[in-house]
């Protein structure tokens, strides 16, 4: 049913319909509305879940870790400094192969303190073993939660997932969203079937010590599992499309890429603005297209390589910066295109909530055509002196 609702509320609704058995979260802007809505659902008995109130994000994810090991479907949500506080537990969830699903309402990292959007928080957990999916709009943010549980809980994968959607830009925006009914959600997402769980009658320990003669093998297995998501995610997307008509089977999505000369690469809500900008640029006769990255982890290098093989130049829009190096998405794209002659220009853009408009995208395309890249877009003059 199509409903005009706030992004956070649409996400909370979808999470509730995924039937989590344990929710543990700590409120932090701009994630708060999600966990408030879920707390209300639990209090009103509209969903049958334990809501564990905790004193920090570290505790929130630790509670989720324990509950997941005990065999429950679990959920949490956070952002920015909250995610930073979960850092240690994030690696443990992945290492213990627990299919936790967590929403990240993407926000900049401090210092300086900023409550506004960029994607530095989840990108900084790039190497943690969590799968990372980025939503362009609230419909996708909502639907990706169903997919995330399907993919994470697949017994060939067993890895936690972030569903990332841009803080405020999506989380606090009202848009029409097709809300699934509980029956529809149940048809797509079956009850949780743990691969193994804590059971006093059949004891097992999680996350044990590994000496140097075995540690590498565990890391290899986590890496292999993450890479298997490159085939499991499209399958989950196709099944979703068969039931509800919305197709998320692509790890990447091409927009007006046929005959494109310059390809923009972006993740998250930026893609909506880029698509509108591309329509204008196409009307003006410029051959521009967008490659949207939906799954940043695992990174779909083959799909990126294939999609970009025919273009003359690539402009990557990074809402993050690996300080001392480049934007994280650009690094991946450059790796995927290694050996080709296609120039990849990186643009650090929209950090800390700075607005990115259609005219900015048009300007980036012009810069790329002039061969001027690897720069921060739209910096104030005074820092360049």
């Amino acid at each position: 049913m199509l409903q005009i609702t706030e992004g956070s509320l649409a996400v909370a609704d979808a999470v509730g319909k995924c039937r989590p058995q344990v929710i543990a979260a700590y409120p932090i802007t701009p994630q708060t509305h999600i966990v408030e809505a879920l707390a209300e659902m639990v209090a009103n008995c509209t969903i049958d879940a334990e809501y564990i109130t905790v004193e920090s994000e570290f505790s929130a994810l630790s509670a989720c870790l324990g509950a997941s090991a005990a065999g429950s479907r679990v959920y949490s949500a956070t952002t920015s400094q909250g995610l930073a506080l979960m850092f240690e537990v994030c690696f443990n969830c992945a290492g213990m192969r627990l299919p936790v699903v967590m929403t990240i309402a993407n926000r900049a990292m401090g210092a300086p303190l900023s409550i506004w959007n960029d994607q530095q928080d989840s990108i900084s957990l790039r190497d943690s073993g969590w799968l990372q999916f980025y939503a362009e709009d609230n419909q996708e943010a909502t639907d990706l939660h169903y997919l995330a549980y399907r993919v994470s809980e697949d017994h060939n994968i067993l890895l936690p997932s972030f569903v990332c959607f841009d803080g405020f830009i999506l989380s606090h925006t009202y848009e029409p969203v097709d809300i699934l009914s509980q029956e529809e959600a149940d048809r797509y997402l079956p009850r949780f079937r743990p691969f193994q769980r804590l059971d006093a009658d059949d004891p097992i320990s999680f996350g044990l010590f590994a000496a140097p003669d075995y540690y590498m093998e565990f890391r290899y297995e986590i890496d292999q599992a993450a890479k298997k998501a490159l085939s499991v995610f499209p399958k989950a997307g196709r099944e979703f499309a068969e039931l509800f008509g919305r197709d998320y089977s692509g790890l990447v999505e091409s927009y007006r890429m046929e005959d494109a000369d310059c390809a923009l690469v972006a993740m998250g809500s930026l893609c909506g603005t880029v698509k509108d900008a591309i329509d204008d640029l196409r009307d003006a006769g410029r051959k521009v297209g967008l490659l949207k990255i939906r799954t940043f982890r695992p990174f779909p290098a083959e799909e990126v390589k294939k999609a970009l093989s025919g273009v003359s130049r690539v402009a990557v829009l990074d809402k993050n910066i690996s300080l001392g190096s480049k934007g994280a998405v650009a690094l991946e794209v450059k790796d995927a295109l290694y050996g080709s002659q296609i120039p990849v220009h990186d643009y650090i853009i929209g950090l800390g909530g700075r607005d990115v408009q259609k005219k900015d995208i048009a300007r980036v395309v012009t810069l790329a055509e002039e061969g001027r890249g690897d720069l921060y877009y739209g910096l104030r003059e005074e820092v360049l002196k």
Binding site: G95, L98, L158, Q196, F206, L208, A210, A211, Y214, E217
Partner: protein
């Protein structure tokens, strides 16, 4: 040892970690001086010191890391740490 997905293990699996390979100094138990007081068995962090039919201490060298606590605490100086040649 087969890898348990999620770094998991069933009870008793830590026996697979034969920590005796870590040892540099090996305790030699000199039974002639031993009074069977049991101090070495109490202080051993690995709990790897058992006893023979006569009640004299016998370490399990598969798990003895050679920490030397038993030799340090033995009131009869009946345990000597010796550099192990491997």
């Amino acid at each position: 040892m087969a890898l348990g997905t999620g770094c998991t293990a069933r009870p008793g699996k830590s026996r697979n970690n034969r920590t005796g390979s870590w040892r540099v100094f090996k305790p030699a138990f000199i039974h002639e001086r031993c009074t069977s007081c049991g101090m070495c068995r109490i202080v051993c962090p690995e709990g790897c010191i058992g006893e023979n039919e006569e009640g004299l201490p016998v370490p399990d060298y598969d798990y003895c890391k050679g920490c030397g606590l038993c030799a340090e605490e033995c009131p009869s100086e009946a345990i000597e740490m010796k550099k192990e040649e491997k």
